[in-house]
């Protein structure tokens, strides 16, 4: 009797998470519908680049583009570094150093994003403005490069991408390290017995056996990069323009919501357009999670690890 009641009572919290997701989905959709149905908006706002609520122009493509550029930069920096560090941690590192390095990586994951943002705003942005940009623009080796053109005040795509990369690194390192360590040691022994060196074994055998886990790490960090708010908001400059070079400012999806939701709340269409941005963000994060899970499942199956 008590068991049956208990089971029934526990059913409610068990599905609280699912209920919450459905609630978030329906509510964001409900808030975003007006702009999708209005003559000024419509579904084509996703590809229109001009955002000017005063003239009833609600194109959100600029923010999607800004998010993509920052995310791409961050992934391009974080993934090679993160996988390299994970290979070192799991294959070459003496166990005693490994414990403390893992602890530092876990602490990096725990640092709040506002603290990263503060640091980037105080240290990195002035550094880009005063040291990095003059250096690359006066050096004849790099001055011709189209991605280093233009004057900058430091608030740039580059700053946003770099701080994002730093924030993604702990995730990439931790998840890849776990994936590498779950590769059976018999694989390594077989490779070493055939005469391969330790790095050959690590790069060609262990990494390729751990590809599903590493892929999941990359996709998960994609989701985090697109959704990261405070740090990016503080360093990307929030200017309504298309970033053509690394030193141009940009406006990302999370920033426009944070900056304007407060004012926009009394204007139905404006508010609805911001919720459309939130809805796009939500869809992206959900699909990244699904892809990551699917990737792990596929990899486990093809590698017979299940």
């Amino acid at each position: 009797m008590q068991d049956a009641v208990g089971k029934f009572v526990l059913l409610v919290p068990a599905f609280a998470g699912s209920a919450l997701i459905i609630l978030i989905l329906t509510f964001l959709w409900y808030e975003a519908t007006p702009i999708f149905l209005a003559p000024q908006g419509g579904p084509s706002i996703v590809i229109q680049p001009i955002w000017d609520p005063n003239r009833d122009l609600y194109g959100i493509a600029l923010f999607i583009l800004g998010s993509f550029i920052c995310t791409f930069l961050a992934i391009a920096m974080a993934v090679p570094l993160g996988i390299g560090a994970a290979v070192f941690l799991s294959e070459f590192c003496p166990p005693r150093i490994r414990t403390s390095l893992r602890m530092i990586v876990e602490m990096m994951a725990a640092i709040p994003s506002i603290v990263y943002g503060l640091w980037a705003y105080i240290v990195m942005v002035p550094w880009i403005k005063n040291s990095f940009a003059p250096a690359v623009q006066s050096n004849p080796l790099t001055a011709w490069m189209p991605w280093f053109q233009g004057s900058t005040n430091g608030l740039s795509v580059l700053a946003g991408g770099t701080i994002l990369a730093i924030m993604l690194l702990p995730t990439v390192v931790a998840v890849s390290d776990d994936a590498l360590r779950s590769v059976p040691s018999s694989y390594r022994e077989a490779s070493l017995a055939l005469g391969a060196t330790k790095t050959e074994t690590a790069v060609k055998i262990v990494v390729s056996a751990a590809i599903p886990g590493i892929g999941a790490a990359i996709v998960l960090s994609l989701g985090r990069a697109v959704g990261e708010t405070m740090a990016v908001l503080m360093v990307t400059g929030n200017s309504l323009q298309i970033p053509f070079t690394l030193l141009d400012p940009a406006y990302v999806m999370t920033s426009i919501i944070t900056n304007q939701l407060g004012y926009a709340f009394v204007f139905p269409l404006w508010r609805s357009a911001l919720f459309a941005v939130a809805f796009v963000l939500l869809m992206m994060s959900v699909s990244f999670t699904v892809i990551a899970k699917w990737f792990v499942k596929w990899g486990m199956k093809t590698r017979g690890l299940v």
């Binding site: 526990l10 978030i24 808030e31 959704g227």
Partner: protein, 321 residues
């Protein structure tokens, strides 16, 4: 290379078994190890060594930002980290302390924990103790993974539109705390589930054999055995939501004192991350410095929670293994 190291280790073992070797100090041992690593005969070995060094340098680059951040905050922020900062409320033109933010963060975490922890722990108990592996379990797991991936600003926008406006709760402690509770749920649920999974089946069977019901077994035996693991998950989740800014911007409001009521404008509440953001957006230079002191305080609090959580989890895994 590998065959060499095998051979040397083999002879080392033989000599060790035949005659006791003189003690080698740790410095000398690491020097010997370094020498064996740097011994290069062929091109392949040189490549091996180079790649190893490259991987080590990569690791150093990865952990470098952690030290840069801590040093920067310590150098600029430490001078402002006085007792006054924690014990006084902000005064005219934001001089004074940040007691409002510290009390506010604690209150928000209490509300979030009070709602989020029971929900997610009970949910985890249901899927790992009461439901067979299959559709229900994978649905709940999938839901919490999706929830964990949702950006914090989306939680903020949802909290604002749903709790503040649609349910007409208004900004303040309740709305902010509930929004944070939503963000806590996936972490606590997954870690609790993992902790329950690590409890040996024999414990449950012994309890059943004594005639206990499933309910009694779950509450008196399984949860008790999994308790340290659950605490770890709760601490990790608390550490995560303590530093969240984006969900609070539209839900908790801001205030220069502590909240005096549960609902309404008197319940508006400040928090540490929001205070950092407000101070750093302010052009006055002394507020920039105070933002760094506040960030240092927040960083120390979050890292302390994290270290305690890791300590508990390491101790527990060692005991179980």
């Amino acid at each position: 290379m590998s065959s060499d190291s095998c051979a040397t280790s083999g002879t080392a073992n033989e000599t060790a078994s035949s005659a006791p070797e003189p003690e080698i100090g740790p410095t000398r041992r690491s020097l010997l190890w370094l020498k064996s690593q740097l011994l290069v005969k062929t091109r392949r070995e040189a490549k091996d060594l180079l790649l190893k060094i490259l991987f080590a340098i990569t690791t150093l680059i990865v952990i470098l930002p952690f030290f840069l951040i801590v040093i920067q905050l310590a150098v600029t922020g430490l001078s402002g980290l006085t007792l006054d900062l924690f014990t006084t409320f902000p005064g005219a033109s934001l001089t004074g302390g940040i007691r409002n933010a510290i009390v506010g963060t604690i209150l928000l975490v209490l509300v979030a924990g009070g709602v989020g922890i029971p929900l997610s722990v009970l949910g985890a108990v249901y899927i790992s103790e009461y439901s067979p592996p299959g559709r229900i379990r994978s649905t709940v797991e999938f839901a919490s993974d999706v929830l964990a991936g949702i950006p914090s600003i989306v939680f903020g926008a949802f909290g604002f539109a749903f709790i503040v406006v649609f349910l007409n709760v208004g900004m303040g402690l309740v709305s902010g705390g509930l929004t944070l509770a939503f963000m806590m749920m996936p972490t606590v649920l997954r870690t609790t589930q993992e902790a329950l999974r690590q409890v040996p089946v024999s414990l449950r069977e012994a309890s059943f054999a004594l005639g206990a019901t499933k309910w009694t077994t779950t509450w008196r035996v399984t949860i008790r055995a999994a308790f340290p693991g659950i605490v770890t998950g709760v601490l990790l989740a608390i550490g995560r939501v303590m530093g969240e800014t984006a969900p609070l911007i539209f839900t908790s409001g801001n205030s220069l004192t502590t909240p005096t009521s549960i609902l309404g404008p008197a319940s508006w509440v400040a928090s540490l991350p929001f205070t950092i953001w407000a101070y750093v957006s302010d052009p006055r230079p002394y507020l920039q410095v105070k933002a760094q002191s506040t960030a240092l305080a927040l960083l120390v609090m979050v890292l302390a929670v994290d270290v305690v959580a890791n300590y508990i989890s390491r101790k527990v895994t060692r005991r179980l293994v």
